[in-house]
């Protein structure tokens, strides 16, 4: 499975993201698209990607969309997901988010996770915006 051109492997991931990677990202015109290749460790015994993995991946893409659109770090408050179709081992999946509205505290984000031929997961989320001064202590 080859990675489409323009995608960079996310090497700064730790914890859950690192344990379930590798994840890839392409940033174009200020918008981010994330992708990963489905391995057996992402799937259930039927060879279908676990709903939890899809949820985690779309959540990360939607949070990244907030960062690119608003320049603010955020944490997920609420996420609504509709599972539209299965994805299988070997598939290349992509996810992206779009900020559809925000105020000082909360951003509303629409998200989409899809394979080469079909939509897999649709999401709508509310993300709490962290204050601009707040620094994330990473690497713990």
């Amino acid at each position: 499975m080859s990675i489409p051109p323009g995608f960079r492997r996310l090497t700064e991931t730790v914890g859950f993201a690192a344990a379930n990677g590798p994840w890839f990202e392409k940033v174009e015109n200020g918008r981010s698209v994330r992708g990963f290749v489905v391995g057996p460790q992402h799937a259930n015994a039927l060879g279908i990607v676990h709903g939890g993995m899809l949820a985690a991946f779309l959540d990360s893409a939607m949070g990244t969309a907030v960062w690119h659109a608003l320049g603010r770090r955020s944490v997920t408050l609420r996420l609504s997901l509709d599972y539209l179709g299965p994805a299988r081992v070997g598939d290349w999946l992509q996810a992206e988010g779009e900020v559809v509205g925000h105020d000082e505290h909360v951003a509303r984000v629409r998200g989409r996770l899809y394979g080469r031929r079909h939509d897999v997961l649709a999401g709508l989320g509310a993300f709490a915006l962290l204050s601009r001064q707040r620094k994330l202590r990473t690497g713990s």
Binding site: G15, N20, A43, N44, L46, H50, L79, L81, D82, Y83
Partner: protein
């Protein structure tokens, strides 16, 4: 890395029975407890928060919470409803109420809201002690007929059995 050290009554869930690890094993280790029918603890899924389940700030990753809640909805909801087949999730909504940290023991419980011929509606809570950390609602599909064949997860009671075995 903290030891899982599951409380009494919890057994490791063996999802793969020696086959290569699927997602449920990969993210684990997950534990379950089966209590008396109709009680709050009829089905409890649980895990000890480990670094590989966390985000860069050292908190339990939302993806791990959603994965556990999804499993509680389908495994637990299926158990409470007496449905012995694979229930694919159709839709879920998650509210991230509070964080959890490495070392916390997280438990998930499910309430069946309604069961129709083809759908199962459930509410799910993840808790640490008395504190709720995630509220979720789920709709799962109940496949017609026998449903898809699915490797049945089972509770690994061997550790407990070994501990109870007389040493003589």
């Amino acid at each position: 890395m903290p030891a899982d050290n599951p409380p009494d009554g919890f057994h490791r869930v063996d999802f793969d029975g020696g086959r290569p690890a699927t997602f449920n094993s990969h993210i684990g280790t997950l534990y379950a407890k089966r209590g008396p029918k109709g009680t709050r603890d009829e089905f409890v899924l649980a895990f000890r928060v480990q670094p590989h389940m966390c985000n860069p700030v050292g908190g339990l990753h939302g993806g791990m919470m959603m994965t556990a809640a999804d499993l509680v909805g389908t495994m637990g909801g299926g158990t409470l409803s007496g449905l012995r087949k694979f229930l694919p999730t159709v839709s879920m909504t998650f509210d991230f109420v509070a964080p959890a940290k490495v070392g916390d023991w997280v438990e998930g419980r499910v309430e069946v809201v309604r069961q129709t011929r083809s759908l199962l509606f459930t509410n799910i809570y993840l808790t640490v002690g008395e504190e709720k950390i995630l509220r979720a609602s789920s709709i799962a599909k109940i496949p017609s007929g026998e449903g898809q064949a699915f490797g049945k997860a089972r509770l690994d009671r061997s550790a407990k059995v070994a501990a109870e075995r007389p040493t003589s």
